[in-house]
Amino acid sequence: MFIDTVILSATTPFSYFPIVLQLIAALGFVGLTMFATHFLGPKRKTQDKLETFESGIERHGNARQPVAIKYFLVAILFVLFDVEVIFFYPYAINFRLLGWEGFVAMLMFVAFFMVGFLYILKKGALKWED
């Protein structure tokens, strides 16, 4: 419970205002362009044009089939490891304050991180050559 105010200073909600401006600008640009191209381009729709393109041969079945579970696994692992990374941020901000004691604690955390990592490696969750 030590978030320190060493770094998190001088930012008010107003500091984010330019970002909103930029968002408006970006959205405006994108929207306008989309709108413009929609009217500028020719429109000669035919049945064949609207077909899904599968290298010129006839389409087979629905594209939205279940894909390899590996991708799913990667997504899940990302979620897990990413939130573990979240924990490094507060530590990185405060680590000078926490000193060696905090470092040892973080070492333990990293050790658990690595244990999980090793486990999924050994389990073959990231093996793609099967």
């Binding site: 658990f112 244990v115 090793l118 486990y119 050994k122 389990k123």
Partner: protein, 456 residues
């Protein structure tokens, strides 16, 4: 704290055991040894505590009570491993992972028995819950199992959300997560805190499957692989109760206690009535046990409502009695081919010893004297009677206990008084010996509850 650390490490150990040990028999052996070590570590803590307590950054406070409860949970799990450990292999390929998950649940329980901050409460509840979702769905090929798992998961995470909202509201009212600093019951009660307490009560009722939040329980317990239902319905449920009682007796005392006491009394009454009455109509023993677990939760809730030494002792004894007896029954149930009541017909003729042990366990669940279940019920009822204004609830509880006899005895009747050819797997001598040990523990605790309570 030893318990927490050792179980977490054991969980990791089991994860890796699965990678390096290929023989399933030895995995079970490793798990039992690891659990024994956890048990020993926990007992060592009991000795060093000497009635005091140990605090870690205000987050965890280990007291005699927590260590004792851990011991009960570990003991019951040990029994469970030995009785039903072999059944893990039938569920799926990843035997060691199941053991690892059980260990993680145990570490959650150790945390639940010793938290002193709402943050740790939340973590404990989640560490207990999440592995359960996996265990419930561990039979990947069975639609029933996966649906049970989904249902459990959705309901469980929903209640987690409610729990968190409750905690947050309490934080908003008090500015702290530490139980020692909450002080909700001192003086006037802020509406924010009251809402928070009610939400937490609801969420925890969800976790312990108290009515009207029980509706997931029968489906989930029925759909999950029996071997895990056995664990989920016993040790885990007791663990959630420990969190419940610790929180409500530790944090929400004082003026606020009257408010939630009434609320929980109504919940308890509903739980008792619904659990018992519905159990009567079940045709499958497994489902009956699911409803019975709801009914038993009603009894355990009595000890949450009542503030006293009896309540605290009662919940430990109840946890032990209920867990051991149910684990014993499930160990037999897993060996059965037909889970209906009729499936038990004539078991006493075929396997007299097994039937006798099952009978003793059932008697314990029904709360018949000479079994541990009696003293468990005795303690919680005493606590409720002592509370004074809950006499109506006690009467309901007693009537429900009498009703419970009906469905427990249906099994006994099927085993002893009906004839049939029960489909039952081969049971080896070791298994039978362990069953006898189970029955012996039930009776021993039923005659000398002091064996356990002297530490409390």
């Amino acid at each position: 704290m030893n318990a927490l650390i050792s179980t977490a490490l054991s969980g990791v150990l089991m994860m890796f055991a699965g990678l390096f040990v290929k023989n399933k028999q030895s995995i079970k052996f490793v798990a039992i040894v690891a659990l024994l070590i956890c048990f020993a570590a926990n007992l060592a803590e009991l000795c060093t505590l000497q009635g005091g307590s140990r605090t870690l950054y205000g987050m965890i406070t280990v007291t005699n009570f927590s260590v004792l409860f851990n011991a009960v949970a570990f003991g019951a799990t040990l029994l469970y491993f030995m009785l039903s450990g072999s059944a893990f292999e039938k569920v799926g390929e990843h035997v060691s992972d199941y053991f690892a998950l059980v260990f993680f649940i145990l570490s959650g329980i150790s945390l639940a028995s010793s938290f002193s901050s709402l943050l740790m409460l939340f973590l404990a509840i989640e560490i207990i819950s999440i592995p359960q979702y996996i265990l419930a769905g561990s039979d990947k090929k069975s639609p029933k199992s996966s649906e049970a798992s989904l249902k459990y998961f959705l309901m469980g995470s929903f209640s987690t959300g409610i729990l968190l909202m409750g905690i947050t509201l309490i934080y908003g009212a008090t500015g702290s997560f530490l139980i020692s600093e909450l002080g909700i019951g001192d003086g006037a009660i802020s509406p924010l805190a009251l809402c928070g307490v009610i939400l937490i009560a609801f969420a925890l009722s969800f976790k312990v499957s108290a009515a009207p939040f029980h509706f997931w329980t029968p489906d989930v317990y029925d759909g999950s692989p029996s071997v895990f239902t056995s664990f989920m319905a016993t040790v885990v449920k007791a663990g959630s109760f420990i969190a419940f009682i610790r929180l409500f007796h530790g944090a929400f005392t004082g003026t606020i206690s009257k408010d939630w006491q009434l609320l929980l009394a109504l919940v308890t009454a509903a739980t008792l009535i619904i659990g018992n009455f519905t159990a009567v109509f079940q045709q499958s023993v497994k489902r009956m046990l699911a409803y019975s677990s709801i009914a038993q939760a009603g009894f355990m809730l009595l000890s949450v409502i009542a503030f006293s030494d009896f309540a605290v002792k009662g919940i430990i004894l109840y946890a032990a009695a209920y867990s051991i007896a149910t684990i014993g029954i499930f160990a037999v149930l897993i060996k059965m081919k037909d889970y209906t009541f009729d499936g038990f017909n004539g078991l006493a003729k075929k396997e007299p010893l097994v039937a006798a042990v099952t009978t003793i366990c059932l008697l314990s669940l029904a709360g018949i004297p000479l079994t541990a279940g009696f003293f468990a019920k005795y303690y919680v009822l005493t606590a409720a009677v002592q509370e004074g204004n809950l006499f109506w609830l006690v009467i309901i509880a007693v009537i429900c206990a009498a009703i419970s006899v009906y469905y427990y005895f249906r099994v006994i009747m099927a085993m002893y008084f009906k004839s049939g050819e029960p489909g039952v797997e081969e049971m080896n001598g070791r298994f039978k010996f362990l069953l006898v040990v189970t029955a012996a523990i039930v009776i021993l605790l039923g005659v000398f509850p002091g064996l356990l309570l002297q530490f409390a």
